[in-house]
Symmetry: none
Subunit: 261 residues, 2 copies
């Protein structure tokens, strides 16, 4: 299954990464996953606890760093679905492109799924996205500054809009949108929506990942229409009627694989 020829300390580092991401780990599950005894896992957990990475509990270990808990309680719920969306969205990316990753937990997942050696440049205004990309190799990263809206998780003020408009983006991934055929694409925060509108303008192509729960829902601030995005990535269980209606607007709709594959 997994690292049958992996380095021992590589396993420890992988466990550390999950912990620092905010995931809780189970000793038994890790043992079967890495094909080692639970003793080895427990020793890893002991060592990581000594380094201050996690806190041991009965059955496994819990992350200690609060550095990622809130966004993870939000994203941790449907991590499988978001991951399936992100994997499919990652296939839209071509070598050497300059991407923009907007705020939102699905885009954060996409950051972790991007190909490593494709000479990509990623621009983002999202701090969690930037934090995720810092752990990847071979991806150039540019941060849009400005005042941070904590509820959004990134920079969306006027200054950030101006900063963002200095770029030319090949493909941008919008985040945190509601979509409906009738009302178009919309967001929940005015500053965020203003930012997204400017972003679409500087981007040659636009993509949007959508959980099924976001389909045919509305939000107060309109960003544009379904036809304004070039690629729409939806979950495998998206209603075919909605998918068909979206395709009629001229948007390319990609359907993600079922999660847990």
């Amino acid at each position: 299954m997994h690292g049958s020829s992996a380095l021992p300390l590589d396993r420890r580092q992988q466990i550390a990464r999950r912990l620092t991401r905010g995931e809780a780990v189970s000793a038994a599950a890790l043992a079967t996953e890495f094909n080692v005894s639970e003793d080895a896992i427990r020793r890893d957990l002991r060592a990581l606890t000594a380094e201050g990475v996690c806190k041991r509990v009965y059955g496994g270990a819990l992350p200690l760093s609060p550095a990622s808990s809130p966004i993870h309680v939000r994203s941790g719920e449907d991590i499988g679905q978001k991951r399936a969306l992100a994997r499919t969205a990652a296939r839209l990316v071509r070598e050497g492109q300059t991407l923009f990753l907007d705020t939102g937990s699905t885009n954060r997942q996409l950051a972790m799924e991007l190909p490593q050696d494709a000479g990509l440049t990623v621009v983002t205004n999202s701090i969690p996205v930037a934090a995720a990309l810092m752990e990847r190799h071979g991806i150039a990263l540019v941060m849009i500054g400005g005042s941070v809206d904590i509820t959004i998780g990134g920079c969306v003020g006027a200054r950030s809009v101006a900063e963002m408009q200095r770029f030319r983006i090949d493909l941008c991934f919008l985040g945190t949108c509601a979509i409906s055929i009738e009302h178009g694409i919309a967001g929940f925060n005015m500053a965020d929506v203003d930012f997204k509108r400017g972003l679409i303008e500087v981007s040659a192509e636009t993509a949007l990942m959508l959980a099924s729960a976001k389909l045919e829902t509305a939000a107060p601030y309109r960003i544009g229409w379904a036809a304004d995005v070039d690629y729409l990535v939806v979950e495998h269980d998206a209603p075919l009627s909605i998918v068909g209606a979206l395709r009629e607007t001229g948007t390319a709709v990609r359907i993600a694989d079922a999660p847990r594959g």
Copy 2:
């Protein structure tokens, strides 16, 4: 087979390329692949570690990746020391101030120790610091944008320097510095040092947290002299002779409590 007639340096370069790609390498596997003994591979790995390309581990080497979380693992130092430093440094902060938190894991720790409802505004160029502050309430956060140097963990390019100079900071916390009475305060990266110099200029007061291991050490690029910082926070076990010498320069030296409190 592989490079059975390749140059030694070529082999070393190929290993380096895999490491910088993010791959983990196994000593045994490389030995068979290049038709040399494991000793030769180990020597390569030692050299590459000295160059800062990777980190040696039992069985091979891991890419030095480095983002926020592995940096803690890399240093191996427990968080207790940094936390003690950060708690003491947090007492320098007064209500309503505008702070700047530079890059570095100790400043990340400080971000987690800052008082919550003191009406603080924090400006930072460090992504891990920003990520930590996103978890806190009641602290206004401003991010300095620009291209991100992954090895540093933040934005330090010319664009970021210009951006930062638009601020007026009450108190800034420098990070990742070496200090010695004779050679002053210095850093390991030229762009980073340029940024820090500009930062000192826009700040009314400057503070610096220093682990004992950084005392009386040198680094290639000078930032300034000990007298250029207003507050120095050192660990409880800092040699009194060094503390005394630093105080004679006119700097206020605060000694942190012992860890494990």
